[in-house]
Amino acid sequence: MLTILLLAVPLATGLVAATQSWRRWVGWLCTASLGGVLILGVVLATRVVHDRAVSAFSGVLRADALSAFMVIVIGAIGLLATTQSVRYLDAEIVSGRGTARHATLYAVLVQGFITTMLLAVLAGNVGVMWVAVEATTIITTFLVGHRKTRGALEASWKYVIICSVGIALAFLGTVLVYLAALHAGHGLHASLQWTSLMSVSHHLDPRVMRLALGLLVLGYGTKVGLAPMHSWLPDAHSQAPAPVSALMSGVLLTVAFYALLRFKAICDGALGTAFPRALFVTVGLLSLIIAASLLLSQHDYKRMLAYHSVEHMGLIALGTAAGTPVAIAAVLLHILGHGLAKGVLFLASGEILLVEGSTEIDQVRALLARRPALGGIFAFGLVALLGLPPFSLFVSELNMLRAEVSVGLGWAAAISLICMAVIFGAVMSHGRHMLFGARAEGEPVHRTPLIVTVPLIGGLAGCAALGVLAWPLDSLLRAAAMVVVR
């Protein structure tokens, strides 16, 4: 019941937005809908945290602790991102780039985007999960291209082509898993149901499953933005409107990663942990190295943030490779912490673009002196994202590294630390460029409106609170980790 309600809230909001002509209250209704999703997610979490999954439509929808956690991630970052939607749309309409019809389309698409992501994490059937992830690509393509500039259209084209090919490979992987399941259960009651795949996982043909996992990592990995299939990511994330970038970078990447977590659990049963671990270590390290080398030479701050996402996806891939309960709990905490910090940063960068008119790092100067509130948010966001305390990314990175060392992946942890150090240096130097410096003679101190500062500071505070006191999520994280660890 709860799962149906969760999907119904954004769907109904989208329908309302579609039938109304654009008013600002429609925009705020969309924000309220995400608040509803977050509350329902918390309710769902309290229901399923003690090992009782809920399901609907004879198992097509199913929520366990892991799904509930992902719903909370979607709700929290969605709420944060949609608080800035009205401001973005107002600016588009005032500047004459967008019309009321544009705004309506945007509102409907964002609600559709949220619905498909929720469907992906609530699907009890890995085939339905695939359909939902593919549907996110279709919907977000129009959101990436929403500003209809040449760059935006180019980014959408690359995005939809590369991600469609990737997700097609994931479908082939899913077909092979189904094939293995057909032969494991003697053809009886074989299905793509997540629970039934888990129950037969020890009997799945290992040679077919090895091929399947390779395709799934390549396929879903494309949507996650793992190297070497990451090339669409900096384009799409830098061209999309800021609230959409926040959603795509903060949530969509990790929703695709959620699919990999599920499949890794099945493959661990069929193949043992060695092969999946090698695969995840490879893509994880490759992503870190590529992110580190490309971050050094960035001149666009939105692309800088996008490459930073590639780094963090690499980190969670490494954490997943370790695969212990502590590691998976840390991966999940990292998913939430990264989502919040990256969401705040993309929203802040949208505001910087709005007031400064450029996404070039060189064009932005002395933010802390000229716009103290906005500059401060951006600075603290970078601090959070670089994994410094008190923010939760520090805790989760530390736990992931410790878990990696404990399972004999110390060398990989060492390489990842070197990459993180390089990225730290690169981002610090870019950030210093943008943040420090003196105000020009006679230039007033600009105020940033409360509608921007309050939600963004809230997001940062949430990220810090998670780092200091993990208790509200502790039992949920442990329960969610146990879903995919055996």
Partner: protein, 219 residues
């Protein structure tokens, strides 16, 4: 239908799928390529139909009819509209010439036979033996996305990839569950629509048809 006819028909239809993949590499005119794609869609639907008749599986027969309708008719029609404004423009400058690309496609077919050995071993039926053809179609689709530079050619490559996967799915598992199958087909249809919209916008606003012209975003 007896067993010999069944496996002959199946081989014929699956063979037609891969043949059409080769034709898309061989022909340069985009409208000929779209025709080949439409024949391929029909052949793919026939694979499902033959399998469905053989197993007396009503769902699979329905899926076969749907595939013929969508991949044989609807998607090619959508593609033709993209081409309406440049139906005479040929793929003028592929990165690899036609004979070399046909040789490449042949090599990919061998690769497909090698890569699918574990899968074929699991499905020792007359359908199972044809699985490599599906993977070969997929690889040829990739190949043509890499070597062709027209926006429309990339859509064609994507559809080849998708048809190859559908062929593997039909032959290996007699189709995934209906709900997933319908969702997947709808997604493909929508992707083609999305790409069509984007191609039209890029063409009408910025006169872009060649992907080499997409050089706005880089590091």
């Amino acid at each position: 239908m007896n067993n010999a006819t069944y496996s002959n028909l199946l081989e014929l239809a699956a063979g037609l799928v891969i043949l059409c993949a080769f034709v898309t590499l061989w022909r340069r005119s985009l409208s000929a390529i779209v025709r080949a794609l439409s024949v391929q869609g029909v052949a793919l639907g026939l694979v499902a139909l033959v399998l469905g008749l053989h197993r007396r599986d009503v769902v699979l027969i329905t899926v076969g009819c749907l595939v013929i309708a969508s991949k044989g008719a609807v998607i090619p029609t959508l593609l033709k509209r993209v081409l309406a404004n440049d139906s005479l423009i040929r793929e003028t400058s592929p990165l690899v010439n036609v004979p070399a690309s046909l040789v490449g496609a042949g090599a990919l077919t061998f690769l497909a036979y090698g890569a699918t050995r574990p899968v074929v071993a699991l499905v020792p039926t007359s359908a199972g033996r044809l699985i490599p053809l599906g993977l070969a179609t997929l690889l040829i689709g990739f190949f043509s996305m890499v070597i062709r530079r027209k926006a429309a050619s990339q859509i064609v490559g994507l559809l080849l990839v998708d048809n190859g996967i559908a062929l593997v799915a039909f032959l290996a598992t007699a189709g995934v569950p209906l709900l997933v199958e319908l969702g997947a087909s709808l997604d493909v249809l929508l992707v083609v629509v999305v790409l069509r919209v984007l191609a039209v916008q890029l063409w009408s606003k910025f006169a872009v048809l060649d992907l080499d012209q997409l050089r706005e975003l880089h590091d």
